[in-house]
Each structure stands twice: as C-alpha cells, then as structure tokens.
C-alpha cells in the first residue's frame, strides 16, 4: 500500500474539498449567485427539537366521509325514484351501513334494480326481502368503493391542510400521508402552536340554514323538537369582559348552501363599529343559489353555521344577487383572518383527530443546540488532547483524522439532506469517542509489531493490515444497530441513526485510509526514521 501515494493523497484531497463545498451553504449566510448555479446550496436541516416547532400525527376519520356520501346518495335516490315514478314507503340512511329502502309495489323491483345499477355503481342493492308483501332493499356500499372514498378523503384532507398551512405562512412545512388514514405534519419554527393546530384541525364545514321562527325555541329545548329541525348554539365571548354566552337557535336541518361554492373570503373592517368581519364571494352557481334562497325567504333569518356552530343569523332584507355575503360576529382580527384562511382553503372532507402532538418551544430548541454543541466541543477537545498525549505524534495524526471525521459527518448530513437532531448531536459525540477506536486498534498493533523488532515501515504495514478486518468487524455491529434504528425510529431517533451511520463510515475512511496516507507521506517522502507512537 505504499505505492500510489500520490493517487491516494489525491483522493483524500478530493474528499476534503468535496466535504467543505457541501458545508459552505450551512456556514455562510449569503451565497454568491455563481455558487448557487453550479454548486450545492442546501443547508443542513435542523430537527424540530433544535429549531422548535410542531409535530402532529392526525387521523382522518375517513369513515365519516363514507357516511356523508351515503347521506348524499340517499337524497339523490329519493330524487331518482320520484323521477322514475317508483313509489317508496320508506327510505332511511344508516350511515356507513348503507340505506334501507322499502318499495310500495313488488312490480317495481325490476325497474328499480335497472335504474339503480345504472346510476349507482358504488353501491350494491342486494336482494329484496319482503316485509308485509312489500320489497325491502338493504343497499350497501361496495368495499372497493368504500376504500376509494376513504382514500380520497385522506388525499383531499391532505391538500386542504396543505393549503391552509401555505396561507398561514410557515417556512419548510412537511406534510405527509401515513398508513392508516393518517397525516403527519411537521411545522418548524412555529411561534403560536395553538393557532396553527386550531387552523389545521378545523373541519370548516360552512352551511346556510333557515331559522325556524314558526316554532318556539323554549319548547324545543324542553325536548319537543319539530320534525326536520335541530338546535344549534351560538357561543360568543365578549371581547371586553371575557364572558361566554351560549344562545340556542332552532334551525331547519336542511342545508340550503354550503361553503363549497366559495371562491374567496376576505377580512374587512366594518366602518361603523370598527370591527372585522369576513366577506365571502360565491362562484356563479353559488351566487345563483344564494339569489334563489334569499329571494324566496325575505324577512326570514338565515343562519350561518360553521362546524355546527352558529356564527350569526341575520335577517334577509332583500334578494341578494351579487354572490356576496358577510359573516359577522364578535371577531378579533386574528380570528377573522384564520376564518378567512379556512374558508378559502375549503372544508375538510371528514373531521381529523389529533393522535400525537409534540411541540418544542423555540427557547428550548435554542438551548438544546447550544448545550449540544458545547458538550460536543468539550468532549472533542478532551479526546484530542488525550490522543496527542498518549500516542504523541501518531496521536496528533489520529486527531487530524478525527477533525476530518466531524467535517465529513456534517457535510454528509448536508449531502443526504438529512436532519440534525439532538440525539444526532449525541451520535456525533459518540462517534468522536468511537472513531478513536479504529486508530487505537491500528496503533496498538503497530506497537506490537515494533516490539517484535520490525522496522517502522514494516510495523506500519503490519499494523494496518492486521487491524483492518477487526475494525470492519467491530463497526459492522454498530452499523446494524443504526440501521435497525433508522428503519423503526421516528424523527429524532432517525436523526441519531443517520449521524451514527455516517460517522462510523467516515471514521473507517479516515482511520484506515487518511491516516495511512499521512504516515506514508511522513515515512516515504519525508523519510522519517523513527515512529513516535
């Protein structure tokens, strides 16, 4: 191995330069344009535990999307049955379990089946059973269709959430789907986690419903709710006194208009009271529907309901044709802004449940970085000093390898676009301690060879040769552990596994290859006679 020293030195130089190039973006603030065009420009990513931020694990209750689909289909079915003049006695939606339909005449069975099969490919009408001579069908959702609806719900939820977060303005958000109808969200550097989480989790289903003024609210509250009606509440917090109040409304269940027709939502300030409100714009279809609704219900009250909470219920003064509406309420500026964001991005197709939430405040993140790096430097310095004292010149060579190691690890992180986490810093510190091992193995072997009376150069040769396999062996086991951790670990632990793996490989490279080059240089080129080890 004492041959081709030049080539080997060249390789080392290349690696070092390459590593430094990858490190530059993380170290300097502004890169000159000529750099960004050709050379790598990715900084090292910092994990949430070092930057501060939120990690969320949401589950989309996709089954509810199936339920609402069935609800919708049951309305369509009523319409279609009427159109085809098929009379029915009973049609009830059972949520995800399907629809129960009782026809009036058994002669209609075939025409029903023909109509149904043609128009509802996602459903299975099943075979008719008979109750009191009338055919009864239990219509169910086909499993494939159910899977498709649920998957679409997750995809749509993902898009909507991504939309909302975009508008919220987060740098480098990470939003990913995961197994089991889940979505994983990571938002680094969030200052107000509560707002962000509220924004993400809001279903934001906007509905316009008529207030039932023909019946009394008090009677309904006692339990006598008229058919087709429901009670929903308006909760408001007085901005000045902080007092909460809940006002019940008796509403017609039927939704006249939903938020899917909204094209824009903006925050405006009411000049009279200096209060913010949200101004909505509908698309042409929505505008027409709105015109129709307001035209048919003048002087009646139209409740604006968001996620089953009443926001306001103004009186319809006149037919509204411009396709614009207003949502007022006692909003703070921030509430109004968040509402506008959520309406613009659209409603979630199904509610989401928070399964896991990990938040690291920015102050802790900063402290962790400082403490992590401080301990790394202290540990590094101690090890470097020790090696220099114990192995003298050879120890210093090992120290050079160690420092190169650290450079390689950091640039390796930048190269792979990996994330540096707090356990990752621990991994670097571990590598500092363990990388010395390879050198120690080699040096001890060299000492042994010297004791046997071999020449320095022969001892070096023998030392490196014998130690090589042992080094590889020993490091492989730690690599196995690192690989397993990478596979099954989450965020910070993955960061640890990555830094550990890169560190091990880098330390093998520096210990076996780089130090050998230095030794060979000293003994071949500089013709050193005695080895100080």
């Amino acid at each position: 191995m004492s041959k081709n020293l030049g080539i080997r030195a060249g390789i080392v130089a290349l690696v070092v330069i390459g590593a430094l190039i990858y490190l530059v973006p993380s170290l300097s603030r502004n890169l000159p344009p000529w750099w960004s065009n050709v050379l790598p420009k990715d900084k090292i990513h910092l994990g949430l535990d070092l930057q501060g931020g939120i990690h969320l694990n949401l589950e989309v209750e996709a089954i509810k999307a199936v339920e609402s689909n069935v609800e919708r289909v049951s309305e369509e079915l009523k319409h279609d049955l009427r159109k085809n003049k098929i009379r029915y006695l009973e049609l009830k939606s059972l949520g995800k379990d399907g629809i129960v339909l009782k026809l009036m005449r058994s002669e209609d069975v075939n025409s029903f089946l023909d109509m149904f099969r043609g128009n509802y490919p996602d459903f299975d009408p099943g075979t008719a059973t008979y109750e009191e001579g009338k055919p009864v069908f239990h219509v169910t959702v086909l499993p494939k269709a159910r899977e498709r609806i649920m998957k679409m719900a997750v995809d749509q939820a993902l898009e909507t959430i991504r939309n909302r977060i975009d508008q919220f303005g987060v740098s480098e958000p990470d939003i990913r789907p995961a197994e089991g109808h889940r979505i994983i969200i990571e938002l680094p550097g969030i200052k107000d986690p509560k707002r962000a989480i509220a924004l993400i989790g809001k279903t934001a289903l906007l509905e316009f419903k008529l207030v039932d003024e023909d019946h009394s609210v008090e009677e309904a509250l006692k339990g006598r709710i008229p058919p087709g009606d429901e009670i929903l509440y308006e909760t408001s917090v007085d901005q000045k006194t902080g007092q909460r109040s809940r006002v019940p409304y008796l509403l017609e269940k039927r939704t006249l208009l939903t938020g899917e027709y909204i094209t824009d939502a903006r925050v405006e300030i009411d000049s009279r009271y200096n209060e913010p409100y949200v101004s909505l714009s509908f698309d042409s279809r929505g505008a027409r529907l709105f015109e129709q609704i307001t035209g048919q219900n003048i002087k009646k009250r139209l409740a604006i309901v968001l996620d089953n909470k009443v926001y306001s219920a103004p009186v319809i003064q006149d037919k509204i044709s411009g396709g614009r509406a207003q949502i007022t309420g006692r909003f703070s500026m921030q509430d109004a802004r968040d509402l506008a964001i959520v309406l613009r991005a659209g409603a979630l197709p199904a509610p989401v449940k928070i399964l896991e939430e990990r938040t690291v405040g920015p102050s802790l993140g900063k402290d962790s970085i400082q403490e992590g790096f401080r301990s790394a430097i202290i540990g590094g310095v101690l090890v470097v000093l020790f090696m220099a004292v114990y192995y003298s010149l050879s120890g210093i060579i090992a120290d050079i390898a160690l420092m190169l190691n650290i450079v390689l690890i950091m640039s390796g992180l930048a190269f792979f676009g990996a994330t540096l986490t707090l356990p990752g810093i621990a991994g670097i510190i571990l590598t500092i301690g363990m990388s010395v091992d390879a050198n120690v193995l080699i040096f001890e072997r060299i000492r042994e060879e010297l004791r046997l009376g071999k020449t320095p150069r022969a001892s070096i040769e023998g030392g490196y040769g014998k130690a090589f396999i042992t080094i590889v062996d020993a490091n492989v086991t730690t690599l196995i552990a690192a690989l397993v951790l990478f596979q099954f670990g989450t965020g910070p632990i993955r960061g640890f596994a990555v830094t550990l793996s890169i560190g091990i490989i880098a330390s093998m490279f520096t210990a076996i290859f780089v130090t050998r080059v230095i030794f060979d240089y000293l003994f071949i080129v500089k013709r050193m006679k005695k080895i100080r080890i």
Partner: protein, 362 residues
C-alpha cells in the same frame, strides 16, 4: 506513554468466580427492583399520555404546582423537577387517560399563569394518544427483535463461519416468536422469549462465540435497565435507541476480544484454553481500556454539559459503556471457557487439556 504495559498478565479468567458473583447479584438486584416497581418505568411514548415541560420564574414545590392545576382537574399529575437546580423547570406528567388532548397545553399554561404570574414558559409538550402509544410500543419491539436477529446471524456467521447455521437459527427464531406473538403476549415477554430461544439455539447448534456474546449483551442491557429503575428514570424511545446502540457498542468490544482469542487459539493449539484466553484478554486490554475511556470521556461531556433533554440518554450510554467493557472481559470470555470445558469432557474433543494429560502420563 503507555498505561498498560505490554507484559501485563492479570488473571482475568481465573477470577471469574468473583465476576460471576458481582454480575449475578447486579442482575438479581435489577430483577427484584423491577418486580417491586411493577415493570420498567415507561415514558409517555409507550404508555400514552401527556408530558409538559415548563419553566417558571421561580422555583415552586410540586405541591404548589399541583394546586395550580386544580382548576383544570389535573391536580393528580406527576410533577418532577427537571434539569439543573437553578433552572426551576418542571415536568408535568398527566396520568389521566380521558383528557381532551386538543388545547391541553394552553389550558395548563393559563392555569399556571393565573397562579404564578406571567413568567411561564412552556418549553416542550409531548402528547401521545393511545393509538400512537401502541404503535410506538410495537415499533420498539420490532426494532429490538430485528436487532437481536441480525446480530445473532452476524456473530454466528462471522465467528463460526457457519452461515447456514445462522440462517437456520434466524428462521427458527422468527417462527417461534411469530407463534408466541399470536398468543397476544406483552412486549417485554416477547423479547424475553426471543432471547431465550436464541440462547437455546446457540447452545443446540454449538455456536459458542455467539452464545458468549449474546449472554454478555443480555447482561449489559439488564444491568442498564436496572440502573434506570434504581434512579427512577423514564424509558422513552430515545432510551430504547440508546440500548440498541449499547448493544452494538458492547458487541464491538466483545468481538475484538473474541477475534484475538480465536487467533491465539489457532496459533497455540497445544496450550490450555484458559491460558490462551487470559493472554488474549491481556493483549487486547490496552485497546479495550483506551477505547472505552475515550468514548466515556466524550459521553461524560454530553452527560454534564448536554442539557436536560439528552441527559437520560447520556446516562444510559455511560452505564452501558462501563458495563459493556466489563462484560467483554468477565462475562463473555468465561462463558466460552465453560463451553470449552464441557466440550472437553466429551470424547474426541481434545483442546489442549487432554493433550497435556496425555503428554504428562507418558
């Protein structure tokens, strides 16, 4: 400079009785401690729940903090001081399982502010719902299981060069664990069973080096878990990661020593095995002590200066490295010796001792 002189010759293996005594009592103490506490102290990662790290303006007693949480019905949470004395940082661990997760940290902050004033800083929140807790438990289990599997395969293959044997062992291990897992046993028991099966297979398939190494590993992890139980630290995902790293690291050590033993055993076929072993250990002593020292120094820096969050992780590594080094010398090697002795009693398995006896008698 040399700490360990080249002609050092400490009778490590000869003193193995003392070592067994020490190890045995430590392991026993660990098991007793665990049984008494009802299992390891699992963190929110595995049990589900909420962990909130807060920093207050001034130090307050856990009782005061519990009182502050009374308005939101969390007065039964576990309060622990965190980090350095001067920091007045506390960990609030909510033990109730039916708590509404959304907005919990804000309710906690508001409650604390109304009791202690504005200087309340929520440093970190970890809320793990039951579903995710179960997921993480399973992940940890799989990680440990696969680590055992791969390491068992690797050691057997590497040392005995019996790759087929190790393949057989891997397969049997997988089958046995699959069968037992279908009985729905808990995480910890499955791992215990996997380990026992591995040991049994090593014994049956005559993989002596693997046997020694794995016994040393079990020894190391058990004692480290004991250290955690003793100091009442929580076992979180990061700690499991530390354990796995320990396993890798301890194996490092053990492999170095075994390598030397094998090399010397091949070279000195006629010498009694116990002598070969002792010599090998002494030869590698320098390297073993040195590497452990440098790694310990580095990890000690992490322990002292690294801050509260990584503290437990550093502790695991500290204990693990010490025990790992000890076990390579005093546990793994004696196991080999016991094996060799057992094998030497069988006919046709001369290993130096029988030769010597033969030579002496002529």
């Amino acid at each position: 400079m040399e700490f360990i002189k080249p002609d050092v010759n400490i009778n490590f293996v000869g003193n193995r009785k003392w070592a067994f005594l020490l190890s045995g009592s430590l392991i026993l103490a660990t098991l007793v401690l665990l049984a008494w506490r009802g299992g390891p102290n699992y963190g929110v990662d595995f049990t589900g729940g909420v962990l909130i790290q807060v920093r207050l303006d001034q130090p307050h007693s856990p009782g005061e903090i519990k009182n502050a949480l009374r308005p939101i019905n969390l007065q039964n949470s576990i309060i622990q001081r965190f980090g350095e004395e001067s920091a007045s940082e506390y960990l609030i661990r909510v033990t109730k399982t039916d708590v509404e997760l959304t907005g919990l940290s804000d309710r906690v902050r508001d409650a604390l502010i109304s009791s202690f004033g504005k200087g309340v800083d929520i440093r970190r929140v970890e809320m793990v719902g039951p579903k995710v807790g179960k997921d993480l438990r399973e992940k940890a289990l799989f990680a440990i299981f696969y680590a055992i599997l791969f390491i068992a395969i690797y050691i057997s293959g590497r040392f005995e060069l019996k790759w087929i044997m190790s393949g057989v062992m891997a397969l049997s291990l997988a089958v046995v664990v699959y069968l037992t897992s279908s009985f729905g046993m808990s995480v910890t028991w499955l791992i215990v069973i996997a380990l026992l099966v591995t040991l049994g297979l090593c014994w049956a398939l005559k993989l002596k080096y693997a046997l020694g190494a794995i016994i040393a590993l079990i020894h190391d992890v058990t004692i480290t878990v004991g250290a955690f139980a003793l100091t009442d630290r929580e076992i979180s995902l990061a700690i499991i990661a530390a354990f796995l790293t320990l396993v890798g690291y301890s194996l490092n050590d053990t492999i170095i020593v075994f390598d030397r033993i094998r090399e010397n055993a091949r070279r000195y076929r006629r010498r009694p095995f116990i002598e070969v072993m002792n010599e090998s250990i002494n030869e590698t002593l320098s390297r073993t002590i040195l590497t452990s020292s440098t790694t310990l120094v580095a990890v000690a820096a992490l322990y002292v200066f690294g801050g509260g969050v990584i503290h437990d992780f550093a502790f695991a590594m500290l204990v693990g490295i010490c025990v790992g080094t000890y076990s390579s010398i005093f546990v793994a090697s004696p196991v080999l010796l016991i094996w060799e002795r057992k094998m030497a009693d069988k006919p046709g398995r001369a290993r130096g001792e029988k030769n010597r006896a033969r030579v002496k008698s002529t």
